[in-house]
């Protein structure tokens, strides 16, 4: 085989390999959606964050408006402090509610924002006052069972009389 033919094929191979890597990084991974645009940071305290993870999405009306950048534990109030980066193009009123929601039944958890009615907008470093914790399945079930048991008691006693 000719030298230059070999070089040509090796060149094609390297280009194809790099193209494959780029395809993986841009189309399969989320490098393209890494926003380098302006963001601002707000914090929210939750009694329970459930399975929320760093880099989880922050959605409002179902649209991704930011990402969770940090999750810490507050030693004084025994609550979780979640730091959120919001895109600068998304402005929210100061009394916005942050909830921890789940996409689908077994899906990942995300922070849902519900805009309030305040005229003053959130600034960098603000804290969201109104939060709602994640729903813990076990608590939900135990509540349900307690309710059932409370309902069932008088009925259960009746046939014994």
């Amino acid at each position: 085989m000719n030298r230059s033919t070999i070089d040509l094929w090796v060149g094609v191979f390297v280009v194809a390999g790099v193209a494959g890597l780029l395809f993986l990084a841009l189309k399969v991974g989320n490098l393209a959606s890494f926003s380098t645009s302006q963001t601002y940071q707000v914090q929210a305290k939750f009694a329970n964050i459930g399975g929320l993870k760093v880099r989880g999405p922050v959605k409002s009306a179902g649209v991704v408006v930011g990402r969770v950048t940090d999750i810490r534990f507050d030693n004084e109030t025994y609550e979780a402090i979640v730091t959120i980066n919001l895109g600068a193009e998304y402005q929210f009123p100061r009394d916005t509610t942050a909830k921890i929601l789940t996409s689908g039944i077994l899906g990942e958890q995300y922070v849902g924002l519900e805009a309030g009615g305040d005229g003053v907008m959130l600034k960098n470093g603000d804290r969201l006052r109104l939060t709602q914790s994640a729903v813990v399945l076990e608590n939900l079930i135990s509540q349900f069972l307690f309710n059932k048991a409370a309902e069932g008691k008088p009925e259960a006693k009746e046939p014994a009389k």
Partner: protein, 268 residues
Amino acid sequence: MRVADVRARLERLGAGVTTHVLRLGFASRFLGYLVMHSGTALKRFRLTTAEIYFAGVLSLIIILVSGMFVGMVLALQGYETLQRFGASESLGVLVALSLVRELGPVVAGLLFASRAGSAITAEIGLMKATEQLSAMEMMAVDPIARVVAPRFWGGVLSMPLLAALFSAMGIFGGYVVGVQLIGVDAGAFWSQMQAAVDVRNDILNGVIKSVVFGIAVTWIAVFEGYDAPPTAEGVSGATTRTVVTSSLAILFLDFILTALMFTGGTHQ
């Protein structure tokens, strides 16, 4: 009689272990010497280019076709299971993560070992058996720098590219079966994949895996070839050993790397 029997067996076991440890030591020394004397292979890059052609370009067909079929099978099997939980939209995530993290580097490595590794061993082994290597030494040409190093670097450079192509082709195969044939929503397929696949945690780690496998496979291949007994039988034995050893090395290293990369991270 019995005691002597046991003793002989123990001696054979000990000899076997010693031989293997000795060979491992020689192989490490060989790798060190090889890297130290890679100047020629990198300066006269044409030598390495030719080896990239033999190890990489000629492996393209088998890598692309296998990648395609692996992706297609993943999509079929994954859909069967995911659909039971009503999560068939996650098909893209399943296909992409299994390929990028595991199957891409591992299967591409196994194919590379049997397609290119065995060829490298056979070539170097035959060169040794026909005394071409000794002839080079007579002419004051270092056979390791002239023959072994270009093959080593050619393999090491080819392997990550082949693994990336394998993964990309597999994802394309998964797309063809999942979206075009089964009818999973194309938007959900890609967007869930993009949301779940992390560039640093998944793709970069997959690339690191393929680099490690490339070094391991090519190292084993050139060493077995260089160390092969200079007979027809010796070369055939060395070729077999290359495939067996590198397959085991890939699976073993994969376990170690996965344990290091994907556990205890902040991401998962």
